[in-house]
């Protein structure tokens, strides 16, 4: 069993598991932090961004000045943003049989895999993952395609040139594999390869293994996966949450008794408690708005935003913010808000029960009805007519490199009354802000990451008791900035095995058993004999039939009629040799009693020698040796067949036959 690790990002995993004869890809997350090296794509012509000076080498060589621009002391690539794909060279991705998706954030690289690697298999995911994943991809494509960029920079990627660049460009990894965003056509094609599954549904893969999605409690339709054969069980835990937010709670019990538990997608901010962060979010939002400032919340169009809107729904009246407009701007805003209301069966119990009242499960429906929350596909069109300040704007993209958020950063960045509140934990907020410096607006970092923290993981591991834990290397040591926080790492026995990008891990357990079925008629013919209480044995003669990784013992064909014909003989070649069976023996020979029996039967002058493996009984007079070992008995006598048979019969008296 092997694990091929194609991604180095612990929360955007992409691993391939080879298990029995199957090749299973676990998630295909897309690392978008690479976009932070690019200049933002402004929706409206930005004189500031378009007039940035080109970057030149220390010696004044300016051959890169078209590709690289200097902005607030940092150097950015002036090109269409590119993403860092999972490794494609480590394993031939056309051999991947299936891809299991655990949540909508972990499928963003899917079009790259399914459309460009010769992949011919099936993708399994839950319906909300697919629908919301589609929205995220659609938004991403839309954000990038609506700001066409003439040039695509590639010169800087040359290894010799990259070495000369300032950080962080100099340290960017695998830049040659960075790719531009996929198209809508590719998205559609990729999504058409997905087969929808429900929680606890058992899916057979070629008869070899069974895969089952389990609720993971993190997002709508998010799942962990059980991959098991008859005698082995691998659990894949990715992006799980034990907090009571909107999704169905995490199913922990089914993870018990795993041989291997692959653990990814823990919280990216283990020191920030989501509840405190929500409190912090509300306080800062309220404080800004009360002072007449605007609040900008860069976010994804689905996920935590639902919970934030719910918190605000409860908070705005009490904080006296009822008159403040909330805007949600995204090409998929409408679909996201509406989708959330129709996936009732994937929601937590409280929200499910609302549906039967009937009420919308999320209160943002009411916010929309009362005009407190308004949503728009983009800043163009209706939004500009309705726009009122002070206000709160939720919009993407959290990297601040594309999407409507770029416009608001340019618009509001100069006033200290305004605040940008970062709630998504995927991007370093300082790096995200770098091209907007100097910035007068307040920046608040309230990352809300509901995924498991290390305390929860340690409780989970104690409860489900896997034999081995496999996780990204980042989880096996404290965060570099807080090396004394030994509580911020996985602590389990035996220690977790860690992996890093482009590594192949041999998983530490061997398959020892395989299940074989016996056909009823064959079973009928067996005559078990109890050799000791509770253990019966029977001899079986059968044909082992193996197809689709299922093994069946079938009755042997009747012995062929003894004919002389050559053609017949050929047919009988396949038939096992069905000689008259000698009985099988079991049991052990107690040496002392055996010697006594020999003496009774007239043998004298018997000597017993102990050997490493058993005993040798020496009949000196008869010049005969009886060698008794654990699994064999040999009678060595000199051509005296009569004596041998007599001795054999004496030996057999001590053994059971069946």
């Amino acid at each position: 069993m092997k694990l091929y690790c194609l991604s180095g990002h612990p929360t955007l995993p992409c691993n391939v598991l080879k298990f029995k004869s199957t090749t299973i890809m676990l998630d295909c997350g897309l690392d978008m932090t690479s976009t932070l090296n690019f200049l933002p794509l402004p929706l409206v012509q930005s004189p500031r961004l378009s007039n940035l000076p080109g970057w030149s080498l220390k010696d004044g060589n300016a051959f890169l000045d078209k590709e690289l621009k200097e902005c607030s002391g940092h150097v950015f690539v002036d090109s269409v943003p590119e993403f860092c794909l999972p490794e494609t060279e480590l394993i031939d991705l056309s051999t991947v049989d299936v891809i299991l998706i655990s949540n909508y954030h972990c499928m963003m690289a899917l079009p790259y895999i399914t459309e460009h690697t010769g992949f011919t298999g099936t993708v399994y995911a839950t319906e909300p993952s697919v629908q919301i994943g589609r929205l995220l991809m659609e938004e991403l494509v839309n954000f990038i395609e609506r700001v066409p960029k003439a040039q695509s920079a590639s010169l800087w990627k040359n290894k010799d040139i990259q070495r000369l660049l300032p950080s962080p460009l100099k340290d960017a990894v695998e830049v040659s594999t960075w790719r531009r965003c996929y198209t809508m056509q590719e998205v559609n094609s990729a999504l058409s390869k997905i087969q929808l599954v429900g929680y606890s549904q058992k899916i057979e893969l070629f008869g070899a293994v069974q895969v089952t999605p389990l609720s993971s409690g993190y997002a709508l339709g998010s799942s962990n996966w059980i991959i098991q054969s008859h005698y082995e069980k691998v659990s894949y835990v990715s992006g799980s949450s034990l907090l009571t937010t909107h999704p169905q709670p995490m199913d922990q019990a089914s993870l018990k008794n795993s041989d291997v538990l692959i653990l990814t997608g823990l919280t990216q901010i283990p020191t920030a408690n989501p509840d405190s962060m929500v409190g912090e979010f509300c306080s800062n939002l309220s404080q800004t708005v009360r002072n007449g400032g605007n609040v900008l919340v860069p976010c994804y169009p689905s996920g935590v935003i639902y919970d934030l809107l719910e918190c605000l729904y409860q908070y705005i009246d009490s904080a006296g913010l009822s008159s403040i407009p909330f805007y949600f701007i995204s090409p998929v805003a409408n679909s996201s808000l509406e989708f959330s209301q129709i996936f009732a069966e994937w929601l937590c119990h409280n929200k499910q029960t609302k549906v039967y009242l009937p009420e919308p499960p999320f209160p943002h429906a009411e916010l929309i009805q009362t005009n407190k929350l308004k949503h728009y596909p983009s800043i163009h069109g209706d939004f500009s007519n309705d726009f009122r300040q002070p206000c709160v704007v939720f919009t993407g993209h959290p990297s601040l490199r594309f999407g409507d958020v770029v416009h608001f950063m340019e618009l509001w960045g100069k006033s200290s009354l305004n605040t940008v509140i970062f709630t998504e934990p995927d991007f370093s907020y300082l790096e995200a802000l770098a091209p907007y410096q100097p910035l007068a607006m307040k920046c608040i970092y309230c990352p809300i990451d509901t995924r498991l923290n290390f305390i929860q993981v340690s409780k989970l591991l104690k409860e489900v008791q896997p034999l081995h834990v496999v996780c990204p290397e980042q989880y096996t040591q404290p965060p570099p900035a807080q090396s004394h926080r030994i509580d911020l790492m996985i602590d389990c026995q035996p220690p977790a095995m860690s992996y890093r990008r482009a590594e192949v891990l041999a998983l530490p357990f061997k398959r020892r058993y395989e299940k074989i079925e016996i056909m009823p008629e064959l079973a009928d013919s067996l005559v078990p004999m109890e050799i000791k209480p509770g253990v019966s044995l029977a001899t079986v003669s059968a044909v082992l039939h193996t197809k689709d990784n299922k093994h069946i013992l079938q009755p042997p064909p009747r012995p062929a009629q003894p004919t002389g014909g050559k053609k017949r003989k050929r047919a009988s070649d396949d038939i096992p040799d069905c000689k008259v069976l000698k009985p099988l023996l079991s049991g052990s020979i107690p040496v002392e009693q055996f010697v006594q029996t020999l003496e009774k039967h007239g043998f004298s002058d018997i000597k017993v020698e102990d050997t490493a493996k058993g005993h040798i009984v020496l009949l000196q007079e008869a010049e005969t040796l009886i060698q008794i070992e654990e699994d064999s008995t040999h009678i060595i006598c000199d051509n005296d067949e009569m004596l041998r048979v007599r001795l054999r019969d004496l030996v057999l008296k001590f053994l059971q036959k069946f």
Partner: protein
């Protein structure tokens, strides 16, 4: 006993003895017992029984009857105990062999009823009351009660078990007291048999291997040393101390909690010259685990006279956990003996690292104990203020994760403590307590920075924040004033500029508890520093006053109440007004508070408004002083309609302040001290009465006089008495009946007294008021109000009637059910 009760008693006894007529209410039986106790304390029990033979009959009947409830049986045992407490009555009951039948082995003791804990408890309480005289001791010995009490010490019911222990102590005390007490030798060979037996039992228990037995013996001894002050207790200690000391040889020490209690109890009662005791205490301190030794160490340090060496040892125990933390978190090896003589020992370190609960428990106890010790005059001296400050700061940093210890122990401590709210709260409390002392400036800076870190951190829970606010306030208020200048010192000023934005954010918190503690903090800070220029400047430059005002409309009533108090306080110091248009905002605040008073649906904000208004009136707040008459009239009008009695009572307080301002102070705050009034000069008086009539203070006060809530009525009565003393002292030339409308007013008042308060009093002339004040029997009313509201219903006669009636009523109720 009054004849009416005597008349009712036979019927009541019949009801009690009748199993078909269950007594509905347990409290009736308790009240009956209280009553009998009172009756027997006042007179002879013997006479009582002779005059009311039904009582003895009841006791006999109880013994015979099989199906009586355990409540009645328990009641009867306790009743018999009350009667038998007097020796002659005891003899009388003994003649009838009643007592052995009730308390001896033939009684309930052997029967099925004994399974009810109530019966066992009644048996013990009966004996406890009974055991008051030497005859009782003989009786106890004769009926073998002591053995039963021994076994009841391990009763499954904790109440019974604890009462059994106390009864043993009581019997021991009774046996040992008396004429021969002073001469008793510690060797105890001449101790009474009963005492010998009990002490022997305690000795056996102390030697037992069963921990519950040891615990029982120790708790009996603790009670004995805590409650009995006879000289014999010293003898007892001499006899038992070797056995107690032997407990320390066991590992682990059994029943350590009880042992600590006992040793402290002995130490408090023993003379300070008892060297053996001090040695035992020292030994115990060194044998117990750090967690167990903490309470003992604290107890020792609280003792008045105690050898210095023992005190040092005890203090060391309390300091050890903190010393370990300091040592573990030190970046580099610090100066040796940071807490002198208490460098972290390995046992404490082991405890700290053994588990999260052990670590948290030990640290919280150490912090709490040291916090309790800090303000005491007998606290150890020199008090290691600086290292303790350092330890508190370090613990807080470990809890927040901001400390970066390099040692292995430090790292593990950090992993255990990070985010632990219990330790955070304990450490903040302790840090607050340490504000009473001084510290090196560097440490004080660290204190403020860690406090700010907690106030800023989004991870601080609401309780932790509250504690952080409290500690911050204590440190701010204790910060030194710059010599020769009345303003804040530069450090504090700097801290304030960092603190106010945090407070601003906290006032916007979605968690109401946080908003509330923020407002409380602001109120306190303003109360103390409202006059400090530096504070005023910083506050006015922030958005805090504006936010506070917005919180007057908070959805949470507690927050609204705190916001009212805070804005009231800010306004008193002129900190509410914006510099551009002073006055305008102030007036709107008055209007807003009046609006809250008359419309808020919850009581807390309305009460807070009344308090603010009273304070404003008392302090002569500019806007109030401008037209105090109108202000008082408006407030009283709103308060009189309020459904909350506390608001009405506060209205009277405000009225009183107004009166005092018009007529001069009261002579004394004691409401009964109106005997020597200082009358106001007639001119002032007439004017004042006019004002009071205009603001309709009398209507308010008279209405309150007949308020259905007694505290309001009492307060009003006091107010009117004060007014009468000022305005219409006896012998004043004005006469009643001057004014034509007095009669109609009196009639109205009578209707009010009867509960019909719909009709207004109408405008009163000052003359009529004076007449009224004279004619209403205020003293009589005051006396009536002073009695508890159920004084009529509390009479024994009423109790007996109720119990009898209840039996009848019970039947009707049952019928109603169908």
């Amino acid at each position: 006993m009054d004849p009416e009760c005597s008349r009712l008693l036979p019927a009541l006894c019949a009801v009690l003895a009748d199993p078909r007529q269950p007594v509905a209410d347990d409290t009736c039986l308790e009240k009956l017992l209280d009553w009998f106790t009172a009756v027997t304390e006042a007179g002879s029990s013997l006479l009582l029984l002779q005059e009311n033979p039904c009582l003895v009959e009841l006791l006999f009947h109880v013994l015979k009857s099989q199906d009586l409830s355990s409540r009645i049986l328990s009641f009867s045992l306790r009743l018999a105990g009350i009667f038998a407490a007097q020796e002659n009555c005891f003899q009388y009951l003994q003649q009838g062999e009643l007592l052995p039948m009730l308390f001896g082995e033939v009684g309930p003791l052997g029967g099925a009823a004994w399974t009810a804990p109530a019966v066992r408890s009644g048996w013990i309480q009966g004996l406890r009351t009974l055991a008051q005289h030497p005859s009782a001791l003989h009786f106890l010995a004769a009926c073998g009660a002591v053995d039963t009490i021994f076994s009841l010490q391990g009763d499954p019911s904790l109440f019974v078990a604890s009462a059994a222990g106390q009864l043993l102590v009581h019997i021991l005390d009774l046996a040992m007291r008396g004429p021969a007490e002073g001469r008793r030798s510690p060797q105890a060979c001449d101790w009474p048999a009963c005492a010998q037996k009990i002490v022997g039992h305690i000795e056996d228990s102390l030697c037992s291997t069963a921990i519950p037995q040891v615990t029982q013996a120790l708790s009996v001894l603790t009670t004995a040393f805590g409650h009995c002050h006879g000289l014999w207790t010293q003898g007892l200690w001499v006899r038992l101390s070797p056995l107690v000391a032997r407990l320390l040889e066991k590992d682990p020490v059994p029943a350590s909690h009880s042992l600590v209690d006992l040793l402290l109890s002995v130490a408090r009662s023993a003379p300070s010259s008892d060297r053996g005791l001090w040695e035992t205490l020292a030994q115990t301190l060194s044998h117990l685990s750090p967690t167990q030794a903490g309470p003992l160490a604290l107890g020792i340090l609280k003792l008045q006279d105690c050898p210095q060496a023992l005190r040092t040892q005890a203090f060391g125990i309390l300091l050890q956990p903190l010393a370990c933390v300091l040592e573990a978190a030190a970046q580099a090896p610090g100066p040796p003996g940071l807490l002198e003589g208490a460098a972290g020992d390995s046992m404490t370190v082991d405890t700290l690292l053994s588990s999260k609960s052990a670590c948290v428990g030990l640290l919280c106890c150490a912090l709490a104990h040291l916090g309790l010790l800090q303000p005491l005059p007998q606290r150890p001296s020199p008090w290691p203020q600086a290292p303790l400050l350092g330890a508190a700061v370090t613990i807080l940093r470990l809890c927040s994760g901001s400390a970066a210890p390099t040692s292995d122990v430090g790292g593990r401590l950090c992993a255990i403590l990070v985010g632990c709210g219990r330790v955070q709260r304990a450490a903040l409390d302790f840090l607050g307590a340490l504000s009473q002392g001084t510290g090196p400036q560097e440490l004080v800076t660290q204190v403020f920075s860690v406090l700010l870190e907690y106030l800023v951190s989004p991870e601080s829970s609401s309780m932790v924040l509250k504690k952080a606010f409290q500690a911050t306030l204590r440190w701010l208020l204790s910060s030194p004033k710059t010599p020769g200048c009345c303003d804040l010192d530069p450090h504090t000023q700097l801290f304030l500029t960092e603190l106010l934005p945090v407070l601003q954010k906290r006032l916007c918190s979605p968690c109401w508890e946080v908003r509330d503690s923020g407002l409380e903090f602001l109120t306190q800070m303003t109360r103390h520093w409202g006059g400090q220029a530096g504070f005023r400047q910083a506050l006015l430059a922030s958005e805090v006053p504006e936010l506070t005002k917005q919180l007057l409309r908070d959805p949470e009533s507690y927050v609204r109440a705190s916001a009212v108090t805070a804005t009231g306080q800010l306004s008193s110091w002129g900190l509410c007004a914006s510099p551009e248009c002073p006055g305008a905002q102030q007036e709107s605040l008055l209007v807003e508070l009046l609006h809250i008073l008359s419309t808020d649906s919850e009581g807390f904000p309305r009460r807070a408004v009344m308090q603010v208004f009273t304070e404003w009136l008392r302090d002569g707040h500019a806007d109030v002083a401008e037209d105090a008459e109108r202000f008082v009239a408006g407030v009283l009008q709103a308060a009189s309609r309020d459904l909350d009695w506390e608001v009405r009572a506060q209205g009277l307080e405000l009225a009183l302040v107004f009166l005092e301002q018009l007529l001069g102070q009261r002579g004394s705050h004691c409401p009964y001290a109106v005997a020597l009034p200082e009358t106001a000069p007639p001119g002032v008086l007439a004017q004042a009465l006019q004002v009071l009539c205009r603001v309709q203070l009398f209507e308010f006060a008279f209405r309150a006089l007949f308020d259905c809530d007694r505290p309001v009525a009492q307060k009003s009565c006091d107010l009117l008495l004060f007014l009468r003393a000022k305005a219409a002292p006896c012998g004043s030339p004005q006469e009643a009946g001057d004014s034509p409308n007095v009669a109609s007013v009196e009639a109205t008042l009578q209707r009010w007294q009867a509960g019909e308060q719909g009709q207004p009093l109408g405008y009163l002339e000052p003359g009529a008021v004076v007449a009224l004040l004279r004619s209403v029997d205020l003293e009589g009313l005051r006396d009536t109000l002073a009695e508890s509201s159920d004084h009529v219903e509390k009479s024994p006669q009423s109790l007996l009637q109720d119990m009898l009636a209840a039996v009848g009523v019970l039947g009707e109720n049952e019928a109603d059910c169908y």
